[in-house]
């Protein structure tokens, strides 16, 4: 029992990392209907940016978050402008292949020895590590609490942004119908850029949390699996749906940790099994709405 609860805590920790990546996927998908394969690699750039700023200048935690989020946000906007915007009115699949190309480019470019290098690195201790034992049974680290704090601040910020600000309203309008939105005087291109900015900034924040929690960074290819898991989480929750992404991410994180406790291969495959089961019974994800079919 204690073991199960301890695993639950670990699962929530993993889910937190997934949630921030999944939100980026789902926001981008919601607005341009594009699976942004490069998102996972932007997350990777976030991890490395945090690593370098933290080790080079002894930067305080808060500043590291801000730097890493802004680097990712700029990267996201640039990628959107160069690679996705020219293809917006072309067949959907060509943008998807370009996204794959950008993803491959980021991975392999960052693996060059003079960029990030292909080697294993360990993430510095940004905040002195502390352990709290609750009821003399469960251990909770301060990293875990910080993760939860960062995520709740960012999530409430995002919620406020999307639902109570002008730009949020624009984002929702563009996601709903681009043509009508542009007729209402909304600058669609700028709104889409802004969505990329917010989504990739969240990936940057997630990068730091990942680095602090797991401390080992294998190589610039490290983004692939967290990225896919987060993407699956977004699909399970109903892609394009913000609360859905968070629900999916926690479901994914917790189930992965439990399955991992049995067998590491099983832990790897469980994400896909859950995905298949959810989509077969609920084809648009847990919280997704059914699209209207026009004849």
């Amino acid at each position: 029992m204690e073991y199960l609860i301890q695993q639950l805590i670990n699962g929530i920790q993993l889910g937190t990392v997934y949630a921030l990546i999944a939100l980026g996927y789902t926001m981008v998908y919601g607005i341009v209907r594009l699976i942004n394969f490069a998102h996972a690699d932007i997350f990777m750039v976030g991890v490395y940016t945090a690593l370098f700023t933290a080790t080079a200048y002894q930067t305080p935690f808060l500043l590291v978050i801000i730097i890493s989020m802004s680097v990712c946000a700029v990267l996201g906007v640039v990628i959107e402008k160069l690679a996705y915007r020219p293809l917006r009115h072309k067949p959907k699949l060509s943008a998807l292949i370009t996204a794959l190309g950008v993803s491959l480019f980021l991975e392999n470019f960052c693996a060059l020895p003079f960029v990030f290098g292909p080697d294993y690195r360990s993430f510095p201790e940004l905040i002195p590590f502390k352990k709290y034992v609750i009821w003399e049974r469960f251990t909770i680290t301060n990293i875990f609490l910080i993760n939860l704090l960062v995520v709740s601040v960012l999530l409430s910020g995002l919620f406020y942004l999307v639902h109570y600000t002008m730009i949020g309203r624009k984002m929702r309008a563009v996601a709903y119908d681009k043509v009508t939105a542009s007729l209402m005087g909304i600058d669609v291109d700028r709104t889409i850029s802004f969505t990329f900015l917010v989504g990739t900034a969240l990936a940057g924040a997630s990068g730091i949390l990942y680095g602090m929690t797991y401390t080992s960074i294998q190589s610039p290819y490290m983004g692939i699996w967290p990225g896919w898991k987060a993407f699956i989480a977004a699909v399970i929750g109903g892609i394009g749906n913000l609360p859905g992404a968070v629900v999916g991410a926690y479901l994914m994180g917790i189930s992965e940790v439990y399955a991992n406790a049995f067998n590491s291969d099983l832990g790897f495959g469980i994400a896909f099994a859950i995905l298949i089961v959810v989509l077969i019974f609920k084809p648009t994800g847990l919280l997704g709405k059914k699209p209207h079919e026009k004849v």
Binding site: I35, L87, L93, T98, L100, N108, V235, G269, I276, I280
Partner: protein
Amino acid sequence: MRKFDGPKAKKFQLPAILLLAYILVIIAKQTGLLSSYFLQILMFIGINMVMTVSLGMINGFTGQFSIGHGGFMAIGAYTSAFITTLLTVRENPLGYLIFFISIVIGSAMTGLAGFLIGIPTLRLKGDYLAIVTMAFGEVIRTIIRVSEPLGGPRGISGIPAVTNVTTIFIFAIGSIWLIRNFLHSTYGRASRAIRDNEIAAELNGINTTKQKILVFTIAAVFAGASGALYAHILQFIHPDNFTFMKSLEYLIYLYIGGANSISGALVGATIFTIIPEVFRGLQIWRMVIYSIILILVMLFRPEGIMSDKELSFIQKKEDLFP
């Protein structure tokens, strides 16, 4: 001058060219002009062509979006490799026969898997379908990883290298010919109707579910056969040979070439199998350049190199192939 033998001569033009190409390759192989490295690339091109064309049946011609083709390849590869290593084909006088039978069994297994996966998943649409096919690909890989008789995470080694240029040559041409004929038939037209407008196709009396499952199963059979041949080139297979990156590779070949044409798939598979090999000398820069080429091709030819045009030998004369 009237053309006496125009059409008839044309009919034999393509087989003649293919035969000539084959003889040239065999001569080059026997005289040692082509090293085994080049022959291996040639064989990979053949396999990638069949994989891409069969993926094109689903993605290009039926308008469904599958990205789990690598999983089907894995089933074919593992089934046939399991049989040939079990029966030790290398010492067996009936080696080639067993190899052939193992390919057939491998493709049948893959077809069955495609059928079983197709029934529940083809209800889904668009990106949801894509993700589920990808998930099935990974589930297949996970099952292989945890099943001990198939070597688990260690894979199967010591597979006899019985695939050669001749096998690949016959296989590639035969499969492409079969797929082309399928796509030019009533079934192919039904597929294209589904791609263009599913509801209209249904109103015209096409059983869309049945058609989609049929195409999915046939594509899986070809993927399984390619996988079986692939295993007997590599001689060592491993679950990680068939990750979703493998599936994405075929997706890239298909959309680079142009998804709505068979020629596009052939061109895409050929060019993008060769490009990474050409840049092999650049080592660490290889994949960087590969990805830049990929992005540039997509930016300047968003509908693929061939768009929806066909090379003349694939075009069916009587049919206005859209």
